[in-house]
Amino acid sequence: MKTFEEKWTAWLDGQLSGRELAKFEASLPDKAAAEVEKADARKLRQLLKQELGARTLTNQEFFSHQVHEKIAQEDAEASQSSGRRSATTSTWWTIPRLLWAGTLSLAVFLVCTLFVVHEKTPTEESSYLTQILNARVDPVVSPNATVSMFEVKQDRVTVLWTEGLQSLPADYAAK
């Protein structure tokens, strides 16, 4: 069941016919005023059609429009790609920074390694001192000779001590 407003709109548009039209017009309280309003609505519709209707483009205008569209599209693409490029170059991890970061990491690693090695070696204190691995004297020349060795950690000196070597005259002290 249509409401009065729907029937009114359909009547203004000329879409009512036959019995429905007659019944609606009979229900109007002031048919003359309604007819005036209907005429005004028609005029308004015509005016709107004239002013707001799609204007057909001429060939020249159409071509110009296409060119402008294309330029606008290319400008948009260019601005997008430059935006992407600037986004990549502005990243913090540039190549020089990566190199310096690598160098710093290497330096820290070396310092730590040296520190660890330095910490370990003092426990092997004997490696700081000269060590005598073996010693021998000619038993024919010095049959009673003996050798002994000692390390003086305080002075960091190692001494090979011999006793009983053949004594020599003072002349042997010559340069």
């Binding site: 190199l99 005598i132 691995l133 021998r136 000619d138 190692t158 004594s167 010559a174």
Partner: protein, 147 residues
């Protein structure tokens, strides 16, 4: 180019300084020393200054004179050399280098006669002193120091 150099120079310096084997060659001073007690002792030779105290303490002499010496810069740790005086010769044969020092074979000759032979691992921080034969009123000492 300048940026690369600025980067590479510190890196190589760092690496070189961190590798012990690539440090500068070291010099071993070896000397034949006559230790004596005299009324007016001569000043100790500069090569022995750092061990003056232990020398005097261990051997009890007040004068030390160098009668023969040799200074050898070791590059490979495989070099050999001779420190000689008029009658004595100290032959030193380096047989390798380690972090702690050099492995040395030492032979003391009196003219052509071998008096003493020893193998030692000479530390870069610790001198070696060998007591040799008695000579007159003094004593022959052999000293080796990594300078």
């Amino acid at each position: 180019m300048g940026g690369v150099s600025a980067y590479l120079i510190p890196v190589f310096a760092l690496i070189l300084s961190a590798i012990p084997g690539l440090r500068g060659a070291e010099t071993v001073w070896s000397g034949l020393v006559i230790a004596e007690n005299v009324a007016q002792p001569q000043p100790i030779p500069p090569e022995l200054t750092r061990i003056e105290g232990p020398l005097k303490k261990f051997f009890g002499y007040n004068q030390f004179q160098v009668i023969g010496q040799s200074q050898k810069t070791l590059k490979t740790g495989q070099e050999d050399w001779l420190a000689t005086s008029k009658f004595f010769g100290l032959h030193v044969d380096a047989r390798g280098e380690s972090e702690a020092g050099y492995v040395l074979n030492l032979k003391l000759y009196k003219e052509k006669e071998l008096l003493l032979e020893t193998d030692a691992k000479l530390s870069k921080r610790s001198p070696l002193v060998i007591k040799g034969p008695q000579i007159g009123s003094g004593q022959l000492l052999l000293v080796l120091v990594v300078e």
